[in-house]
């Protein structure tokens, strides 16, 4: 009994440590993808000095940030100013707990994983709001308020868009949801409207172009991050890219079959080989969506803050409700 508890605690500690360690290379890789992909889309070379074809540019940036002086504005509220990057980063890192990388490779396989995920990811808005308030800077304040308005509004269509999927699959557990997709086909085919709403809302939720209101550099300098420097800024930056990875991962798990291979013969394998096989497909699909987000950033301008809001409340929310309604009726009528 005691041994079992100890094992459980040990497993949990190991898993969280691994996940925290995973966030660092994830951020580096995505920043590198962004640097290189946007450069090639802009007909530039991009970074090409550090490592083969500039591979380690983002890593060097990361270490450079560590070495920078960490300044706090005179008038800033020191306590909360220091706390804010931590809050944002922890929200991103904590939501990684429930990401299903492969069969058997989930840090915490809750039966309410989906609820947990949205609850925790939403915490990052507190960090942004606190950062904006504590900086004692008008740009930061405007950015923080924008963050609060935007993320709170988009949380609703984001959450509602997957309720349809949950109703269909009858589970709130990520791995059970993926197993359901193994039997019934990817949810992409069952919930195309839900997928669309989820994708748009998730871009807004992680502040990616075209919804990067929060740190709109041509309007608000850097939004809530304006006064941050050194590793505190680095944490915000990291958290942003980790959140992009997490959102892409969740999108893949919910609608694109997670760790399942795109063909039915062996969609998944047993044992340790199966875990590796699952991890391969999960990361491949996730990075495809990361790539699409980067592609959007290179292509689209930014929407305005009022257009963003009216889209959330006037388009996405009603659409999500209709989607849920139709799904629920279909489940009852066709006894799915």
């Amino acid at each position: 009994m005691d041994l079992e508890l100890l094992l459980g605690v040990g497993r949990f500690l190991l898993a969280t440590t691994l996940l925290l360690l995973l966030t660092v290379p994830t951020a580096f890789i995505i920043i590198q993808i962004e640097l290189k992909v946007i450069a090639s889309m802009n007909l530039r070379l991009g970074p090409n000095r550090i490592g083969p074809s500039g591979m380690f540019q983002s890593t060097i940036h990361g270490f450079k940030v560590l070495a920078k002086e960490d300044t706090v504005p005179d008038q800033a509220d020191r306590g909360t100013f220091t706390l804010a990057p931590w809050m944002v980063y922890m929200a991103a890192a904590m939501s990684m707990l429930v990401i299903p990388f492969a069969p058997g490779a989930i840090a915490a396989d809750f039966n309410i994983g989906i609820v947990y995920f949205f609850a925790v990811l939403g915490l990052s808005v507190v960090g942004l709001l606190v950062a904006g308030w504590a900086s004692y800077n008008k740009y930061s304040l405007l950015g923080g308020l924008r963050a609060a308005a935007q993320m709170v509004s988009y949380e609703i269509p984001l959450t509602l868009s997957i309720v349809g999927a949950v109703v269909l699959a009858g589970t709130l557990n990520f791995s059970e949801l993926i197993i359901w997709q193994l039997d019934h086909g990817w949810l992409l085919m069952w919930q195309p409207v839900g997928l669309g709403i989820f994708y748009v809302s998730s871009l807004a939720e992680v502040n990616r172009t075209p919804f990067d209101m929060v740190e709109a550099d041509s309007e608000l300098v850097a939004g809530p991050f304006t006064e941050y420097s050194g590793m505190r800024f680095g944490f915000f930056f990291f958290a942003e890219y980790v959140a992009l990875f997490i959102m892409s991962g969740i999108l893949v798990s919910l609608f694109f079959g997670g760790w399942l291979a795109p063909w039915p013969f062996p969609a998944q394998l047993e044992g340790f080989g199966g875990t590796l096989y699952g991890i391969f497909w999960f990361f491949l699909k996730t990075y495809i969506f990361v790539f699409i987000a980067v592609w959007l950033r290179a292509t689209l301008p930014r929407v305005r803050v009022d257009q963003l809001m009216s889209m959330a409340w006037k388009v996405l929310l009603p659409l999500a409700l209709v989607n849920l309604f139709v799904t629920a009726i279909a489940v009852v009528v066709f006894d799915l």
């Binding site: 946007i38 008008k138 924008r146 075209p210 041509s218 309007e219 689209l300 305005r304």
Partner: protein, 427 residues
């Protein structure tokens, strides 16, 4: 220790500062620090003289109602197109009022020009509006030629028109890019710079410099065309339409771009005329005024072109106007190359010009509007008075009229659509 003669000691720098301070205080009409015989008071107590009394307009902007705050955009804001400060009065994110504060890039170019000879004035005007350097040189060249009574040879006039239209193309191209950049689109500006680099390389082949070309002379141009210029021109002409359309495809039909520019910052023709706005910004309101047509200079009376106008008067119309003008300029360049005569490119003009006393006005259609020079000669080697009308400065006046009631996010987008260049605004 060897004694130092107290009579010859070096004065203490602090003593010097005190003497200077006493002098300044006397000038400012303040009581001397040590008048009371007390200890030295130090710099803190000198204080800053009071601000001059506010004007009515300043009082209107700087008086805050409940729930309003002032945000300083600039001079170090990432997207104010140079160093300009916008004091924005906001209520939440809604703009109540705007006060543009200019002068951060003032270099006193007009005064510099008044102390330079007529030939060297053409080098001083280069860095004014640094995106339309050729136009900057064209207007004083016209004015000085009128003043001195010399005419540039026909080939020189054709080369002038050619380089000026090339300059217009890259300036308008950059405006497309900057407009998208200020809305968060990062790619169009880089495509615009690729196009600009091609033109700038071409112009540096003919003039010898990449940005501040210094190509015009009183009575002609500095160099005739050369092989490198012509071969670059040919290559560029071959793929310019493709490049422009590639960039245009990213912007023109983009839903987000349209939503952010249509009906945004709308100027009516009447408003634009009364503000003195000229150039593409005026033509985008449907007013067909183009200096090249209204008062043809150089060789524009020999070329076939129409004055393009748009109807909207909003940011989107201003953007479309620029695209249309780029295409028109390419059409003009084709005609210029077709008709270019042979001959000399420089009239006989002495090194130091001493025009007879008189006054002259030269106006050109720069990418930002009516750019003109008014110069008075007193018979000496340098202009007695040299005054420039810069179109960016006047376009910028429209900003406080356009912005109230809009959002902070629109400030930069509307300003980019007016396309001001701070080097020209502040002179």
């Amino acid at each position: 220790m060897t004694g130092i003669d107290p009579e010859t000691r070096i004065p203490d720098p602090i003593e010097l500062d005190r003497a200077e301070e006493e002098r300044l205080r006397a000038v400012a009409g303040l009581t001397p620090v040590r008048a009371s015989g007390g200890e030295y008071a130090g710099f803190e107590q000198v204080g800053i003289p009071d601000r001059p009394p506010q004007t009515e307009r300043e009082r209107e902007v700087y008086t805050l109602d409940e729930g309003e705050m002032l945000v300083n955009m600039g001079p170090q804001h990432p997207s104010t197109h140079g160093v300009m400060r916008l004091v924005v009065k906001v209520r939440g994110e809604i703009i109540v009022d705007i006060d543009p504060v200019l002068g951060y890039l003032h270099r006193g170019i007009e005064k510099l020009c008044e102390n330079a000879t007529y030939t060297t004035v053409l080098t001083y005007v280069d860095p004014m509006d640094y995106l339309s350097t050729m136009h900057n040189e064209h207007a004083p060249a016209i004015a000085f030629e009128k003043l001195y009574g010399v005419k540039a040879p026909p080939r020189a006039e054709y080369i002038r028109a050619l380089v000026v239209e090339l300059n217009r193309i890259f300036s308008h191209g950059l405006m497309m890019g900057f407009l998208a950049l200020d809305m968060g689109g990062i790619t169009p500006i880089l495509y615009a710079f690729i196009n600009r680099d091609e033109i700038v390389d071409m112009l540096s082949a003919i003039s010898g410099q990449r940005m501040l070309f210094n190509f015009f002379r009183v009575g002609g141009v500095n160099f005739d065309t050369n092989d490198e210029f012509l071969s670059r021109l040919g290559t560029w002409r071959g793929n310019v339409m493709k490049n422009i359309e590639m960039n245009e495809r990213m912007i023109t039909e983009n839903e987000i771009f349209r939503a952010r520019t249509i009906d945004m910052g709308t100027l009516t023709g009447q408003q634009a005329i009364s503000l003195g706005v000229t150039g593409p910004n005026l033509r985008a309101c449907g007013v067909p005024f183009d200096v090249r047509k209204a008062k043809p200079y150089s060789i524009y009376h020999e070329l076939e072109f129409d004055v393009i106008t748009q109807q909207g008067g909003d940011s989107y119309a201003r953007y479309l106007q620029r695209i249309a003008e780029i295409k028109q300029s390419i059409h003009l360049i084709d005609q210029i190359i077709d008709k270019m005569p042979h001959g000399s490119v420089q009239a006989q003009v002495p090194g130091i010009i001493r025009p007879r006393p008189g006054r002259a006005y030269g106006a050109v259609e720069s990418p930002r509007g009516l750019y003109s020079v008014y110069s008075i000669s007193d018979g000496g080697p340098n202009p007695y008075r040299f005054r420039m009308r810069d179109p960016s400065f006047i376009s910028l006046q429209a900003l406080p009229k356009l912005m109230p009631g809009r959002l902070v996010a629109d400030t930069m987008a509307v300003m980019a659509s007016l396309d001001p260049v701070m080097g020209g605004v502040d002179k």
